[in-house]
């Protein structure tokens, strides 16, 4: 990336995202909206750059897409699981807190993991202790702790590590 | 029964279910027992409201309900985040 592009587009992904949002909001691909959206994208990127957010880098876009599909599949699966728990009469879910030791330290990977874990029904991200590398989760159906640890460690964390580190 | 009447009835049934869902959320909002339960119920309540307005949009074939949903999403997020922040700082601690 040349110096000029870096100065105009400090966060190219964010700028592209803002442009796409603008076009979606206006339901249009006309030249006028493309220009206006690009201006908003560049301005948004410049405004955010004054916050000095550490820049992250996606190393493997293909894996990111694969990760998105895995998450979608898991969301559907846990929707069914939580539906079953709620609708089974007389069943009291054995919920509880769970500690998982994580290896990833990349902020973006952790942020994505937090969003994935929380938006999947059945698990909520409570806290991450960055000094100890310990993640605190709350799980609705905590019957087998190893199963959940395995899900976080092997299914999500390994992929995120390959994508971001 | 034609496909069109199936659509008409299922949209009506969906609206009914969402209103019931809002009633459940409202029950939890009124009953509590604690403030965090009420905020959580409020969050679920406005999501139900968003879905209800989306189905209204399908029912009336009016595309402009979309804007209302977007506004509810924005306001609801800010409200819940502010309330959660308040719970964290406003009460016993400090």
């Amino acid at each position: 990336m040349s110096v000029l592009t870096r100065r105009v587009l400090p966060y190219p992904l964010l700028s592209a995202f803002l442009l796409i949002m603008w076009l979606l909001l206006n339901q249009s691909l006309s030249a006028g909206h493309l220009i206006l959206g690009s201006i908003i994208g560049v301005a948004g990127g410049l405004a955010i750059s004054s916050l000095q957010i550490p820049s992250g880098q996606v190393r493997n876009l293909h894996l990111l897409v694969q990760f998105a599909f895995i998450v979608l599949y898991d969301i559907i699966r846990s929707n069914i699981a939580v539906t079953r728990i709620v609708l089974t009469p007389g069943r009291v879910a054995k919920s509880g807190f769970l500690y998982v030791k994580l290896d990833i330290r990349n902020e973006y990977a952790l942020a994505i993991l937090a969003c994935v874990v929380t938006s999947t029904p059945g698990t909520v991200w409570v806290n991450f202790d960055s000094a100890k590398g310990e993640l605190l989760l709350h799980v609705l159906d905590l019957v087998d702790e190893d199963e959940w640890t395995d899900l976080i460690k092997n299914r999500y964390e390994r992929l995120l590590k390959e994508i971001f580190e | 029964m034609t496909a069109h009447s199936i659509l008409i009835w299922s949209v009506a049934a969906a609206e009914m279910m969402i209103v019931l869902a809002m009633a459940c959320a409202a029950y939890r909002m009124l009953k509590g027992p604690r403030a965090q339960d009420r905020v959580l119920a409020l969050d679920a309540f406005y999501v139900c409201g968003m879905i209800l307005i989306l189905t209204f949009g399908i029912e009336t074939s009016d595309i402009f309900y979309f804007e209302a949903v977007l506004v509810i999403a924005l306001v609801g997020f800010v409200a819940t985040a502010a309330l959660a922040k308040f719970l964290m700082r406003g009460e016993p601690i400090e």
């Binding site: 939580v82 698990t123 | 009506a12 999501v47 989306l54």
Partner: protein
């Protein structure tokens, strides 16, 4: 009562019906869970049914229906989907950590030490029963 344009293909009507019903049912189940489950941390989970697949199905139905009725691609529902996907985890995480602090502050022994407080910190004495969690 809803008016359906007579030119609407049957398969669009059927798929829209299924998606709308599925989305509404999942949302309803989520709020039933909100009423039925017995403690706050369990109750955080069910509403996410509504915010993931629940609203997702209804948005898909709306996209399909309007794309066919208006005879052009209507995709601005994606905007709502993106917005809900980003905001729900943020509000839930904030709410859970707030609840953790409040439970910890009234001396509930069943919750772990909340973030930002040292492990050895002295727990305050439990307050009088008025503010105690009932479940």
């Amino acid at each position: 009562m809803m008016e359906v344009s007579p030119t609407l293909p049957a398969w669009v009507a059927i798929v829209t019906s299924i998606l709308v019903l599925l989305g509404a049912a999942l949302t309803l189940i989520g709020t039933i869970g909100l009423v039925r489950l017995n403690n706050f941390y369990s109750r955080v989970h069910p509403p996410t049914l509504g915010t993931t697949l629940g609203i997702g199905c209804v948005l898909l139905a709306s996209m399909l229906y309007f794309s066919v009725v208006k005879q052009r691609l209507v995709v601005h529902e994606v905007l709502i989907a993106i917005f809900v996907t980003i905001t729900t985890p943020v509000t839930l995480m904030l709410l859970v950590s707030a609840a953790l602090r409040r439970d910890w502050a009234i001396g509930d022994p069943s919750v772990p030490v909340p973030p930002g407080l040292p492990e050895e910190a002295e727990r305050p004495e439990p307050l009088p029963e008025s503010d105690q969690p009932t479940s």
